[in-house]
């Protein structure tokens, strides 16, 4: 069937992507790893100094050479991720369940809950920091009716409340995973619910034994993507860091950015940080994927 001129035409179509793969992924990966073993201010190529694994040692907690600030950044990032991602997914699932009912006007509600997702991160952060402004924000104005003025939280300006505020903002931004869940819920065959109802399963049991297994691939997808992105949180931290007390919003990605692009430029150290972040993400995601292979229900077994 395949004529001669057709052989290897794949190259022609895949070429732009392959060039990108080599020049924008493979070569930079090699560069990044090499740089992480050096000390360099990014100015002259002659200034590159080989230091081996020194930078990685600074990122191990409890050692004498530990960079305490980096440990703080890792802790902040992990705390935020562990709180924000599950709450975001629960909100997304709850909304998707409500919206998947066959009722009129669901398109309007779907748009309302998706609206925050379309805002640019700068606009989101500006709106939330205005809403949660300790003095002039709507939240504290309303709270002041029931809470004494000096007991009002400082939100983004407070060491304790800054992360919960960000987590709340992340829950508000659940429109993306919500759409994924909605699409998955729409593919669940109604006959499964009918069969379960005939067997006398109540609403809770139908959710637990029919809905949840059926949408488990979507849960796995949202969880993995959500974790990867939350671990890389940058925009919010960058825009709000100045307000936070005691580095409460110093996330690893921000620490990396500041180390590399603020003076004194520590290109090698920042590169090592990138690989540590990659390792942390892998340590988080791979067990979930492996567990997912056992727990997640696929209609087609491969």
């Amino acid at each position: 069937m395949m004529s001669r001129s057709w052989r290897d035409t794949g190259w022609a179509f895949a070429l732009p992507w392959m060039i990108g793969m080599v020049t924008l992924t493979l070569v930079p990966m090699w560069m990044s790893w090499s740089l992480s073993l050096t000390r360099w201010d990014g100015l002259s190529l002659g200034g590159i100094e080989w230091v081996g694994l020194t930078h990685y040692r600074a990122l191990i907690p409890g050692a004498p050479s530990t960079d305490e600030r980096a440990i703080k950044a890792v802790t902040n990032t992990l705390v935020y991720t562990v709180l924000a991602v599950p709450l975001n997914l629960m909100a997304a699932m709850g909304l998707a369940l409500l919206l998947s009912q066959r009722l009129r006007g669901m398109a309007i509600f779907r748009t309302v809950f998706f609206l925050p997702y379309m805002l640019s991160s700068v606009a989101t952060v500006m709106m939330w920091s205005w809403l949660f402004n300790p003095k002039f924000g709507l939240v504290n104005r309303v709270l002041s009716v029931i809470v004494a003025p000096d007991a009002l939280p400082g939100w983004l300006y407070s060491e304790f409340w800054c992360k919960p505020t960000l987590v709340l903002m992340h829950v508000w931004l659940c429109g993306g995973p919500m759409l994924v869940f909605l699409a998955a819920l729409q593919r669940v065959s109604p006959s499964l619910y009918e069969a379960a109802a005939l067997d006398g399963a109540g609403r809770w049991r139908r959710f637990w034994h029919v809905t949840l297994p059926q949408v488990s691939p979507a849960i796995l997808f949202n969880l993995v993507i959500g974790l990867i992105f939350a671990m890389q949180t940058f925009d919010r931290a960058y825009l709000l860091y100045d307000r936070s007390q005691n580095h409460g919003l110093l996330f690893l990605m921000l620490h990396l950015y500041r180390s590399a692009f603020d003076a004194p430029h520590r290109i090698g150290y920042a590169s090592a940080m990138a690989w540590v972040l990659f390792a942390l993400i892998t340590l988080m995601v791979v067990p979930i994927l492996m567990m997912g292979r056992r727990v997640v229900f696929y209609a087609v077994r491969r």
């Binding site: 069937m1 395949m2 057709w6 052989r7 290897d8 035409t9 794949g10 179509f13 895949a14 732009p16 992507w17 392959m18 990108g20 793969m21 020049t23 924008l24 930079p28 990966m29 560069m31 990044s32 909304l95 409500l98 919206l99 009912q101 006007g105 398109a107 509600f109 809950f113 998706f114 609206l115 925050p116 379309m118 640019s120 991160s121 700068v122 606009a123 500006m126 709106m127 205005w130 809403l131 003095k135 002039f136 709507l138 104005r141 508000w172 990867i228 890389q232 940058f234 925009d235 960058y238 950015y257 590399a260 692009f261 920042a270 990138a274 690989w275 972040l277 990659f278 892998t282 995601v285």
Partner: protein
């Protein structure tokens, strides 16, 4: 049944009100003079609303220019991303290609690689090429594959289309390019719409890359431009809120069009 639907509507309305609060608060602020923005409870009536804030947004800073810049960057990048990722997806799904397994493994690996590992080398490369200060670092990568996610999306979609479709076109004398352009791309419309809308959102919202590569504020996209309403002497919180809401409009329009394309009632099957 009747009662249950009323409960659902009640819960949804309540949640929608909570979810819309930041928008309502932002909108109310955007219509106030700056002195009143800090007043509570709001004393302003609707007749006093300063709609002129929405034109001031464009007068105080070149916000029109920011919007135009974002549009140029987003259109250029999305065109490249959809074109090159669909071509690569087509090749990986349906064309003879030596070492296909190897390339596919690379694709999956790059899907998992977080972007920050590449951040510094990319900066060094673009600096060496003299691209810093231009839009090239924001646009050129999109023309070289347009992101692993898009390639993967198209590869999966193209695999779900039966091979006969193409063989029929080939018997009619179509070239590979014609098969891709006239037969498969129209059939992959849902994937094209998803890739287009998601890439548009990604490039419209991009913050870190423009921050790294652009220093002249006249070249700023909206995402960076918004920040200037805050960092200028004193915050124009009213203008900032107005600008934030204006920047949202193009995305709402894009998604509305995208949703329409997805709506099963509008498609013939």
């Amino acid at each position: 049944m009747m009662r249950r639907s009323w409960i659902s509507y009640g819960v949804l309305t309540l949640l929608a009100m909570v979810s819309l609060t930041p928008f309502v608060w932002a909108f109310a602020t955007s219509l106030k003079p700056i002195e009143q923005a800090y007043e509570f409870p709001p004393t302003m009536t609707l007749e006093q609303a300063r709609w002129s804030n929405y034109t001031d947004v464009f007068d105080k800073l070149p916000f029109g220019q920011f919007m135009l810049n974002s549009t140029v960057i987003a259109l250029a990048a999305v065109t490249g991303a959809v074109l090159t990722s669909s071509m690569a997806g087509y090749a990986l799904a349906r064309l003879p290609l030596r070492g296909k397994r190897f390339w596919f493994a690379l694709l999956v690996a790059s899907l998992m690689l977080p972007s920050q590992v590449l951040l510094i080398p990319h900066f060094l490369m673009y600096e060496a090429l003299g691209w810093v200060g231009t839009y090239k670092p924001l646009i050129v990568p999109a023309w070289l594959g347009g992101g692993a996610f898009n390639v993967f999306l198209f590869r999966q979609y193209f695999r779900s289309i039966p091979m006969d479709v193409e063989e029929a076109a080939v018997l009619d004398g179509a070239t590979r390019w014609q098969c891709y352009r006239r037969v498969l791309m129209p059939m992959a419309r849902p994937a094209v719409v998803a890739a287009t809308v998601l890439s548009l959102l990604y490039h419209w919202q991009a913050f870190l890359n423009p921050l790294l590569y652009l220093s002249d504020f006249r070249k700023y996209p909206v995402s960076l431009g918004l920040r200037m309403y805050q960092t200028m002497a004193g915050t124009w919180v009213n203008l900032l809120m107005a600008a934030s809401l204006i920047a949202l409009v193009p995305m709402v329009v894009a998604f509305a069009c995208g949703f329409r394309a997805f709506d099963p009632r509008r498609r013939g099957h």
